[in-house]
Symmetry: C2
Subunit: 139 residues, 2 copies
DNA sequence: TATAATACGAAAATGATTTTCAATTTCAAA
DNA sequence: TTTGAAATTGAAAATCATTTTCGTATTATA
């Protein structure tokens, strides 16, 4: 039903190495070419899709296109992390915090809405970027 | 600096009429054509961009492209709503709830992250769709 | 009016993502 | 091993939402 290929392994390995920041499909293909394991862009997209379905990576859609990042909590089955993404610098924090889980339960109990942590991205400003913020909007 | 045009008014009026559900740019243009106020697609996009910048509407990026919806709380300046979007049926609830504002404050105080409610969409399943959920994933 | 700034829209361009399809690879069975 | 059906690959083409171009039309003001 599904073969194991070297392209598959190469993509996953590259995502593990780039785990600090989300990466675009094109940049990932570029990295792979550099590292001597070129993988066609179509295949990169196919593997990313698979990995996302399998819950191993997060797909982060932004104004600038989609980025992918391996989920640091992918091993922990019971409890999922929520994503905080800085809209200025693009940095993403994978947060496993009681308050977020409490919110999850509140929304389910009181508003009959079950958040999917994997597809929810809290967007805003990280500390560093909030500090730099330009009050005149001239960014 | 900015002229008032009938296309502008037509787009806003149409968004007000379709306020129940998010609508795509193409569907909006279609609606406008139907209602006898045809507006070019490029202009529709330009107006949507303006309205979003002005904080009058929400832009909701999804796997199926972008949707736009007028913000029912746009008049209330002090407090912004958060969006809950059902990933199954696409329905969006604009929620002004104390727990969410508490979360906002918790993230700011403890995690040094300031959420931008306008760009944050909590994605998951609404009650109706959660009921229909298919445990075998054959959706 | 005149005119300068702004907005319009059809058509072309863009660009990320997906699809096509012939060639290649995988893996289990012979 | 070989074999062959099923799955995967990748270059190129297709898709498709969104943006840009650019000549024309509209707006507000003098």
């Amino acid at each position: 039903m599904s073969y194991s290929t070297k392209q598959q392994q190469a993509v996953l390995q590259c995502l593990e190495q780039c785990s600090e920041e989300p990466i675009s499909a094109a940049a990932l293909a570029e990295q792979l070419r550099h590292s001597g394991n070129p993988v066609g862009l179509a295949t990169v997209y196919r593997q990313l899709e698979k990995l996302e379905q399998a819950g191993q990576i997060h797909k982060i859609r932004t104004e600038e296109g989609a980025f992918y990042q391996i989920c640091p909590h992918r091993a922990a089955q019971g409890r999922e992390c929520f994503l905080l993404r800085c809209e200025r610098c693009g940095h993403v924090v994978h947060l496993d915090c009681g308050h977020l889980h409490a919110l999850y339960e509140h929304l389910e109990a009181e508003h009959h809405f079950r958040i999917d942590p994997r597809r929810t991205i809290l967007t805003g400003l990280c500390q560093a970027c909030a500090g730099k913020e330009d009050p005149h909007g001239t960014q």
